[in-house]
Symmetry: C2
Subunit: 414 residues, 2 copies
Amino acid sequence: MMSGGQFELFQKLLSNVNQNSLFYKEKFEKNGIKVEDIKAPEDIKNIPFTTKEELRDAYPLGLQAVSDEKVVRIHSSSGTTGKPIIIPYTAQDVEDWAVMMARSFEIAGVTPLDRVQITPGYGLWTAGIGFQAGVEKLGAMAVPMGPGNTDKQLQMMMDLKSTVIIGTSSYALVLAEEVERRGIRSEIKLRKGVIGSERWGEKMRQRIKNELSIEIYDIYGLTEIYGPGIGIDCDCHEGMHYYDDYLYFEIIDSETGEVLPEGETGELVITTLRKEGAPLVRYRTRDLTRIISGKCRCGRTYPRIDRIIGRTDDMVKVKGVNIYPGQIDEVLKEVEGASSEYQILIDHINGKDVMTLKVEYNSDGDTDRSDIEDNIVDIFKKRIGIQIIAEVSGIGSLPRSEKKSRRIIDYRHC
Amino acid sequence: MMSGGQFELFQKLLSNVNQNSLFYKEKFEKNGIKVEDIKAPEDIKNIPFTTKEELRDAYPLGLQAVSDEKVVRIHSSSGTTGKPIIIPYTAQDVEDWAVMMARSFEIAGVTPLDRVQITPGYGLWTAGIGFQAGVEKLGAMAVPMGPGNTDKQLQMMMDLKSTVIIGTSSYALVLAEEVERRGIRSEIKLRKGVIGSERWGEKMRQRIKNELSIEIYDIYGLTEIYGPGIGIDCDCHEGMHYYDDYLYFEIIDSETGEVLPEGETGELVITTLRKEGAPLVRYRTRDLTRIISGKCRCGRTYPRIDRIIGRTDDMVKVKGVNIYPGQIDEVLKEVEGASSEYQILIDHINGKDVMTLKVEYNSDGDTDRSDIEDNIVDIFKKRIGIQIIAEVSGIGSLPRSEKKSRRIIDYRHC
Ligand SMILES: [Zn+2]
Ligand SMILES: [Zn+2]
């Protein structure tokens, strides 16, 4: 699994942070970790994880592992709650990130002739400037719009004949809807969309794809690990390639912390093999995915992870099995007559977990209600491994919510 | 005035744009300009100016003078009225600009140990990313805030111990006032301010300087010519050094178009000697300044221009003499007892221009009113060369306006 070259970089990283990062020196000391004890890839599992909370506690610059002269920039997570996380970058970090981003664009088929409209924000955020650096390194043309101002976005898109759009799925949908509403689709020259890999539904994907006539590429990243651009879809769309020459990925059971066998879904843990400003060892991303085995049909040797299926915070454990909203979507897609609107109720009755999956009819389905219910139960059992109760109801009968996680109501802890 | 090296670059530029820029090929043809006729520096005056209107008319990409593959970015002027101006950049242009910006920071005494808080906007604007590229090239630490969110700005300023603030004079004033209001001055570690060189009053400058305890450096630039960073104050504060290895500056009479002798105030005209994406020949900036003769006391050999005294749009001609708001400020500073609040009335009576300068008392002045009036008339005559009428009135008697140009009321065209 881990190449010799990767392990060498891992060992170098450990001795680097043990020497230059007060954060890790203290952490290793507290946990009785001796860098020289990590002699083989199988020893890595003994190194404690690094968590988001620890990064927050290191505010403002506790993660810095180089002298002040070497830091050329900081970025920061938006910090919805509590202190933000601040990540310092060296010039080499900025360059390495741009190399990965340019590589990502190349994998998505972007060329120096493309005109790439960048709609995410700049400043403390990693998104805007990260995308722009990659576009420029590739030699395509950056149209640096930043967020909002849909009128101007569409004007520039038409006037400059932008061929690639970068943004969140929700903003891409706004643009798609406006293009349709204004009837300007023939004036839009987009051919590709590079969309930040949050969890988003298949329907939304199809709508953006169809209304803008573009091919969509999921791009992965997080502020703590450079920013966006550390992984992306290729034309095969069978997972996102990531860059094992810069990063080491592990998948763990987010409850036990145990490393899972290749192919199993769990929490993604990333180690930065070359980062200087703020190197991270075994960082728990809270993102749920799996490593996809085997070589991609595109021929590239960069390994792959699956689309992000959710966040560890959204996960529920029922009858000892971890369930993620993304898995429910997958099941429902297979059931004829079932829509993608659902709600989950979990209860604990007579010492046993009971899960009820409420689903709405599909608008154009004429399958029998009890057939759909039987089907859901069967496929759920087959795919996820547990017995549930299915209840199919009319369209509009379930509450709508933006956040998939809100669709799960867990009575067990009430 | 023009060095041999500069003229060589100028000639190369001319043959480049004559070959690769449709914009200039057509312009030269229309004006009967043959590139081979420009044989010596004195021939330059025969080349027609390039105006802001022409740049607007070239929307969207009519200025582009390289093939599409070579363009890595565009920037755009905000375009308050009419079409915006779009400027395409090659990778070399981006690099050249960063070199000039890093040089500007160096001249302002910024070092790799400084932490530079960047408050201008990113995206289509040149400011944010232009400053950031220079900070990073110098090796200082960029704190990329972007505009607004004063709470967060001050928090980061304290937590990250920012030492340099970059912004407009008006936003610097907002920050200065908030620092005072919150009583957090001892927690602010700023030592320098790099302030975009719009016209701004001496009082505002002193207030920002005192309340933030910083040394202020005026930085010059415009979107059409890279962006900010093409000129800056040194520690002597006797004009802004600009980079004659990248740019050729001329000062013209904005009415006649005649090139003015060194030292005289007029409109700044810039030729880009190395720009690839959108080279400009004799571009009329509409900025009023003068070239400062002689070598700077700092020892640097880069030539200097004076602070921007105003815009050609703000200029009025009285009795055949051009007057700019900035000149009025200069006169009033010399007059004891006069404040900087003034209003100008211009009339045409019996075939002659009559200019009345209304000025408020200075708050703590106890000089006699008519003495002040006599003084103003004398100094105005000496500095600007025309006879005026001065009227001194009480504090608060004149209307307040943000824009200096609104203080001039010209009845001649009513
Ligand atoms: Zn592939
Ligand atoms: Zn100097």
